[in-house]
């Protein structure tokens, strides 16, 4: 059995940072701490745990940040080494063959922490305050924890039964592997508190940006939904998924100004978007978000920046709310409470988000796969995944 294993190695981590800075996103892997090894599957941590054999496992932006040596030191205490990456997983439960998607957050229930923390008690699993504690090694999710394994492995991973969601038969593997990132988008969209009639801008049209657009169209009723998309296929997909206006990233502020009929002063709009969802997460995108949000508007940060440099004068002066959105849990929608993953499955099915899977690679071509994911937009791709069902890769 083979798995991609990420080990703690400061020298290789630094080398990957340099390589990605020179060669671009996804290029750090060649010199970084990730290695393909023969491994045994992880031990079951307790009686309510199952072994899951991955079928497809996605490569996420946060994975790329780790492999390129760009992840924040903030995570040092809440990951454990060595770990097998891969938290966007569709797999089969060993023994039953049930096809499942894995909700990877390792909350209090999975960790055996009792009583649970406030967040887990409220079923906001993504906000678990005990991800470094309990009977498991630290790890905010499967894919960052030494005890659970991850999706980039043919040896399988282990997951608590509460982390598993059976996949309906009419949802194929491509669609199922999109459930986890879509759940992030669903949570962000609900957290963004969009009111009917709002003007909303989404920065970025990669996997998360497009999933946000799809979720926004299904769960909210913005009057105008604008999307900043860099590449032609992203523009097309954003339109297909329900964007009213798609603009090049550097033109999005202008487009928002036009829609809101604002004036401009001090680099900001006097009106602007009621809500901005930043799915890029960089100094530049945050500055753009501040430039296009209306006074007292709300910026929801779905992208995952570490250290950024930002002029916050307009944030406090215009009383803008900047909130983070991470992972998932339980959501209040239309007066009912539903698990975010259940909502995400609906969005994936109705918006046909399986089409966002552009390329599938076997584990042994991991350098190619990660380079492809790092250059996905430029290469006309959206989601690149590892195909653990076969040793052959396909790209579409």
């Amino acid at each position: 059995m083979r798995a991609l294993v990420y080990e703690r190695n400061a020298a290789r981590f630094a080398a990957s940072r340099v390589a990605s800075a020179v060669g671009g996103p996804g290029r750090g892997v060649a010199v970084g701490p990730l290695r393909l090894l023969d491994v045994e599957g992880p031990e079951l941590p307790g009686p309510d745990w199952c072994r899951v054999r991955p079928l497809l496992a996605g490569i996420c932006g946060s994975d790329l940040a780790t492999l390129d040596g760009r992840s924040s030191r903030y995570f040092e205490d809440i990951v454990s080494f060595p770990f097998v990456p891969g938290h966007e997983v569709v797999g089969e439960v060993e023994g039953t063959g049930t096809r499942v998607v894995v909700e990877p957050v390792l909350g209090c229930v999975a960790r055996g922490v009792d009583p649970p923390c406030n967040a887990c008690a409220a079923q906001r699993t993504g906000g678990c305050e005990r991800v470094a504690f309990g009977h498991l090694a630290p790890g905010l999710q499967i894919g960052y924890c030494a005890d659970t394994g991850g999706g980039w492995s043919s040896a399988g991973l282990v997951a608590h039964r509460t982390q598993l969601y059976e996949v309906p038969a009419d949802l194929d593997d491509d669609a199922a592997v999109m459930v986890e990132p879509t759940a992030c988008a669903v949570h962000a969209v609900i957290d963004a508190e969009i009111d009917p009639g709002d003007t909303v801008a989404v920065l970025g049209a990669g996997t998360l940006g497009l999933a946000v657009v799809a979720a926004m169209r299904q769960l909210c009723a913005p009057r105008t939904l604008l999307v900043g998309a860099k590449h032609p296929h992203q523009r097309r997909l954003a339109e297909e998924l329900g964007a009213d206006v798609v603009a090049a990233p550097d033109q999005l502020v202008r487009a928002v100004r036009r829609q809101s009929r604002s004036l401009r002063a001090s680099g900001t709009l006097t009106g602007g978007a009621d809500g901005v969802v930043d799915c890029v997460g960089s100094s530049e995108s945050l500055a753009q978000a501040l430039a296009m949000v209306r006074p007292r508007g709300r910026i929801t940060l779905v992208g995952m920046p570490g250290r950024v440099s930002l002029d916050l004068a307009s944030l406090w002066h215009r009383e803008v709310a900047l909130t983070g959105a991470y992972a998932y849990g339980t959501e209040d929608v239309g007066g009912t409470r539903r698990r975010t993953f259940a909502l995400a499955m609906d969005v994936v099915a109705s918006a046909r988000l399986g089409r966002l899977v552009s390329a599938r690679y076997p584990l042994d071509r991991f350098e190619e796969a990660i380079a492809h994911a790092g250059a996905a937009g430029r290469r006309g791709a959206t989601k690149v995944v590892f195909d653990v069902r076969t040793r052959k890769g396909t790209a579409s």
């Binding site: 603009a247 033109q251 202008r254 487009a255 401009r264």
Partner: protein
């Protein structure tokens, strides 16, 4: 020696390459044997005594008008409106003809004891002129006498307090113009007629009007029915302005029109090869061409733009006439035709043109892709009487670098128009649905009124200007343009003239006929 008339050259094997303008540069192209090249008449001799000619015109008006001195009296209000920075092209050397005319009008007003005098730049929806541009047009003496006291104004088509609605024409067209101009005892309009489209009722009815008024004739339907708008009797644009102008007169607005014409001596000595026929180039012309070509090749775009926009034209005045609008304009038009008309028989499959760095809307600015389209398809395509130079379904090939670049201060709404409207449709009839939202956008209105921005609706007008050509031709190809920008315009990019001709063959077939409009200088093709 009298200037030679324009003529049509048929290209043969001995014909040297033909000069094409190409933005801030030029190219030599070998046109296919059998192509026709239209050369403009040579520049006419200027008036020997322009100051005397102006005085004579003011004292001997045309039509039913008293001499200007007889219209001036103490206690009256006098408004002098004048054409803005869009004329002439390139800007002429000092003294500008507007300065010469206005100084004499002011002298007469002073002699008559007229104290209440206001000057208004007739911007319509164009950008406000800078102090330097106003000083250039009016001269320092006039500027310093009027500007500090607030008596030199720029028409503000968005100031409701400064406009007056005079009524509707019999076609239901709103006529809303500058209140100061309309309520003055006398409105003197000082015009420069560079091409046959300029002047006449269009001076006041367009130059001093509001959006509410302009939208009646600046639209896709009117432009598509102006064939061409260089021929005022076959131009719906001019018919509408005529109706408005007559309503303005019937409303009691007392207009004294002064129109001038210029010869086509367009570029200074170091660029004289631009206006000469290639086979007549002297050694000095060839040296000038080579030297400037090489220098421009090594010059950054921004610097090249700055160099070209610093050129002041040696244009000279060839006529001046004053009095009643229609009588004056008839005489003016005769002078324009005499200077610019070239007879040519029959249309061709392909029309080629080299587009320069400048058009009426980018003086001291950037020729953005929308303006490239407007100059080629709006202006040059329409430089005809009778029939277009290219047959219906034919191909227009334009040579211009067409950079994806905009002046953010002058053309803010152009950027959004290009990014948002043209990305969706390039059909002039279709874009109308976005017009009002641009025209009433408060940010554009603010920039137009307080900065140096063209009005929010202006890019729509540029595209409407292309309506006739877009309806008429089968394809538009741009040689040497930014490929993405050209495609956004709905045109086809070609890297060379030979590529463009290959591409044109898909539309008009093999061995097409070709006519090249050789500019500078400007001309008007009389196509029979």
């Amino acid at each position: 020696m009298s200037p030679r008339p324009g003529f049509v050259l048929e290209v043969d094997r001995s014909t040297p390459p033909t000069l094409f303008w190409h933005g801030e540069g030029y190219r030599l192209e070998q046109l296919p044997v059998g192509s026709r090249v239209l050369y403009a008449p040579e520049p006419h001799a200027p008036l020997p005594d322009p100051v005397g000619a102006i005085r004579h015109a003011l004292e001997h008006p045309l039509g039913d008008r008293d001499p200007l001195p007889a219209l001036l009296r103490p206690g009256m209000s006098l408004t002098i409106a004048f054409d803005d920075v869009s004329l002439p092209l390139p800007p002429m050397r000092r003294p500008d003809v507007r300065q010469l005319v206005i100084e004499q009008v002011l002298d007469m007003a002073a002699e008559a004891g007229v104290d209440d005098v206001v000057l208004i730049a007739a911007l319509a929806l164009h950008r406000r002129m800078t102090e330097a541009e106003l000083r250039h047009a009016l001269g320092d003496r006039v500027y310093d006498a009027f500007a500090p006291a607030g008596l030199l104004r720029q028409h503000d088509a968005e100031d409701p307090d400064a406009l007056v609605h005079l009524g509707l024409t019999d076609q239901g067209e709103d006529v809303e113009i500058s209140k100061r101009a309309a309520t003055s005892d006398l409105l003197v309009y000082v015009n420069i007629n560079l091409v046959a489209m300029d002047g006449g009722h269009k001076s006041v009815a367009t130059g001093l009007a509001s959006y509410k008024s302009l939208r009646h004739h600046h639209n896709a339907r009117t432009m598509a029915h102006s064939r061409s708008f260089m021929d005022q009797h076959r131009s719906e644009l001019h018919s509408s302005n005529r109706r408005m102008g007559r309503l303005i007169a019937a409303s009691g607005v007392n207009v004294f029109q002064i129109e001038t014409t210029l010869n086509t001596d367009t570029f200074p000595e170091q660029f004289r090869f631009l206006q000469r026929r290639e086979w007549e180039w002297s050694t000095r012309d060839r040296a000038g061409f080579l030297a400037t070509s090489r220098a421009l090749d090594a010059t950054p775009d921004r610097l090249a733009r700055s160099i070209f926009h610093s050129i002041k034209s040696p244009h000279k005045m060839t006529s001046v006439q004053a009095g009643e609008v229609e009588a004056v304009h008839a005489r003016t038009t005769e002078h324009v035709y005499t200077q610019q008309m070239v007879d040519i028989e029959g249309q061709s499959d392909i029309l080629t043109m080299g587009l320069p760095y400048i058009c009426p809307y980018n003086v001291n600015s950037i020729m953005n892709p929308i303006l490239v389209a407007c100059l080629g398809l709006g202006y040059f395509f329409n430089l005809y009487r009778g029939r277009p130079l290219v047959r219906e379904g034919g191909v227009v090939i334009m040579s211009h670098p067409t950079p994806w670049a905009f002046h953010p201060g002058h053309h803010p709404s152009y950027i959004d128009f290009f990014e948002q409207v043209l990305a969706e449709t390039t059909d002039p009839a279709e874009i109308g649905k976005y017009e009002e939202s641009f025209a009433t956008d408060p940010w554009y209105v603010h920039l137009y009124r307080t900065g140096h921005a063209y009005h929010g609706v202006h890019p729509f007008y540029m595209w409407y200007w292309c309506a006739h050509a877009l309806e008429h031709v089968g394809a538009v190809i741009v040689v040497g343009g930014d490929r993405a920008a050209v495609r956004r315009l709905g045109f086809k990019p070609a890297s060379s003239m030979s590529d463009a001709l290959e591409m044109a063959a898909d539309v008009v077939g093999r061995d097409p006929s070709l006519t090249h409009l050789h500019t500078p200088p400007l001309m008007l093709a009389n196509v029979t």
